[in-house]
């Protein structure tokens, strides 16, 4: 547990020291969503139809953008090898890094979500399920993305490749996350969507650190 | 007009859907053949390259007995 806490506080400290850099993902999140009205026109009804999907897609992309930071820096300065050689479980260390990543990237997105909902004319019935879905679903994005980040660590043009790998894996979270909001807007019950989303997140939290650690070890053989 | 068609023509006509059916089958055939040809051509080229390289090092033992494809996994001195 010590390794977990130590890694967590280390990563959070690094993020705080980076300052604005760690918030870049959230800025991208909001900025990207702003582009849609500019692209499709400001008509309220059209935006309302698209809002849930647009917000979720931007969340996926913003998470991917920030995933670069997860392992690359540590790989370059050799910290990753030290972590792998340490007696503590690499899985726990990776889990801590994923949690730190979510706290720095995913959680701010949840906080920014009301702004997005406003800009995209999301109907009021959609706001609570949007916040709930993002809160429940965004950890899955960080954890699943960690596997892809670990797979390509040290590769050339790794960033774009990681995007190609991660996006198919994000599809279930996207479908249930946006689906929850759409369901609520349509007057249906969103709880089934949210539960499916929660199941995906729980499975991701349980399994992804182990898979990502395996990928890191393969990278360092 | 379809009544005047010979049996062969009506076969190709495919009930009016010839523009869909034949391109579909055509693309399948083309891609299969292309993949086969590309594989065979590259295989031939690789084999020639291999022969050329093996001819340059006549004293090497035939690679049958050494470790197979995963050779890179060995720590090379």
């Amino acid at each position: 547990m010590n390794a977990f806490r130590a890694t967590l506080s280390r990563d959070m400290l690094i993020a705080r020291r980076e300052g604005g850099e760690s918030l870049l993902a959230v800025i991208f999140f909001v900025l990207g969503a702003m582009l849609f009205p500019l692209g499709v026109g400001p008509e309220g009804k059209l935006l309302a139809l698209m809002a849930a999907g647009v917000i979720w897609v931007m969340a996926l992309l913003a998470t991917l953008l920030a995933l670069d930071r997860l392992f690359q820096a540590d790989w370059r300065d050799g910290t990753l090898e030290l972590m792998a050689l340490a007696p503590d479980s690499l899985t726990l260390i990776v889990a801590a890094k994923c949690l730190a990543h979510w706290l720095v990237t995913g959680l701010p997105m949840v906080i920014a979500a009301p702004v997005m909902a406003l800009l995209l004319n999301l109907p009021p019935e959609g706001w609570p399920p949007l916040l709930a879905a993002l809160l429940i679903g965004s950890p899955a994005l960080s954890f699943i993305g960690a596997i892809c980040a670990a797979l390509i660590v040290g590769a050339r043009r790794g960033g774009v490749l990681m995007t190609l790998l991660a996006l198919p894996l994000y599809v279930p979270s996207l479908i249930f996350g946006a689906g929850a909001v759409q369901a609520a807007i349509g007057g249906f019950d969103a709880s089934a969507h949210l539960m499916a989303l929660g199941a995906i997140t729980l499975a991701a939290i349980a399994l992804c650190p182990w898979a990502a650690a395996a990928a890191l070890r393969q990278a360092m053989e | 007009m379809t009544e005047d068609m010979s049996p062969l023509m009506s076969f190709f006509h495919m009930g009016g859907y010839w523009a869909y059916i034949w391109p579909a089958y055509g693309v399948v055939a083309v891609l299969f053949i292309a993949l086969l040809v590309w594989t065979l051509v590259t295989l031939k080229r690789s084999r020639l390259e291999l022969e050329a390289l093996e001819a340059l090092a006549p004293r090497r033992r035939r690679r049958n007995t050494t470790s197979p494809a995963g050779g890179h996994d060995d720590a090379q001195p």
Binding site: P172, G179 | T39, S46, A75
Partner: protein, 256 residues
């Protein structure tokens, strides 16, 4: 980090003996003519039955014939990805040297089958539903699968070190195959939520046995073709690796 060479596979001599590339070459040489024969025969019979000696669908008329090239392609796309996942698993767990070779060989084949499934699916969609692309559950899942093949090929090419490339790709295939059912399930659900109920299944209203015959024959033909392509590409991979090993040895000997 020096790793011990793979200990003999306890589950038996067959695969272990196969690990010797010369043995593999002999086995594949023996297998090849049979596969070619089956492929040619089944394609011939399949085309005969599919294009000529089978009934037209009540609603779709002749366009149902596209099913005979579309559905087997989708099946083979799944089969190819399963092969990727199995070879990845064998590569990582048992370190069988041919496993990575099989994976690298299968990926482009799978990508082609997947593309064909999409392309023929689109062509089938136009006369059936009046639109070139439709977001039905199967096509959407196959589209995602296509990108998973591309991802596999991309990650394999992203590393100069062949061993690292193989390991990364193997892991990716395993992760992919675990998430694939979840993706399929979520896409199915998404589809039932958004599609009107009147959309008919792509496979036709009911499977007349006269339609099942060309479908199954073509499926066998596709599988035989897959076998032929796989063996050829595995030979290609093995040859490529030997070339690379020799080139590296020469480069190593050349340095003072």
């Amino acid at each position: 980090m020096a790793e011990a060479m793979a200990s003999p596979n306890p589950s038996g001599g067959f695969f272990h003996r196969l690990a010797n590339p010369a043995r593999f070459q002999r086995l594949s040489a023996w297998l090849m003519p049979w596969l070619v024969l089956i492929a040619l025969g089944c394609f011939g019979a399949g085309l005969y039955y599919g294009l000529y000696a089978s009934p037209i669908d009540y609603q779709q008329k002749d366009t149902v014939r596209i099913m005979y090239v579309h559905v087997p392609a989708a099946w083979l796309a799944m089969m190819s990805y399963s092969t990727l996942a199995i070879s990845g698993f064998v590569a990582l767990v048992w370190r069988h040297p041919l496993a990575n070779v099989a994976g690298a060989a299968t990926a482009p084949i799978g990508a082609v089958f997947t593309f064909l499934a999409l392309f023929t699916g689109a062509i089938w969609g136009q006369p059936t539903w009046g639109t070139w692309w439709v977001w039905d559950a199967r096509l959407t899942s196959v589209l995602i699968l296509f990108f998973m093949f591309l991802g596999y090929i991309a990650i394999h090419n992203a590393f100069d070190d062949q061993a690292r490339a193989g390991r990364a790709a193997s892991l990716l295939a395993i992760v992919g195959v675990v998430i694939l059912p979840v993706i399929k399930f979520s896409v199915d659900w998404w589809n039932t939520l958004h599609q009107p109920a009147s959309v008919s299944k792509l496979s036709g209203s009911s499977m007349d046995p006269a339609m099942l015959r060309p479908l199954l024959i073509m499926a066998v033909a596709y599988m035989a073709l897959f076998g032929v392509l796989l063996l050829l590409r595995m030979r290609l991979e093995l040859t490529r690796r030997r070339v690379e090993a020799l080139q590296m040895a020469r480069a190593g000997a050349a340095t003072p």
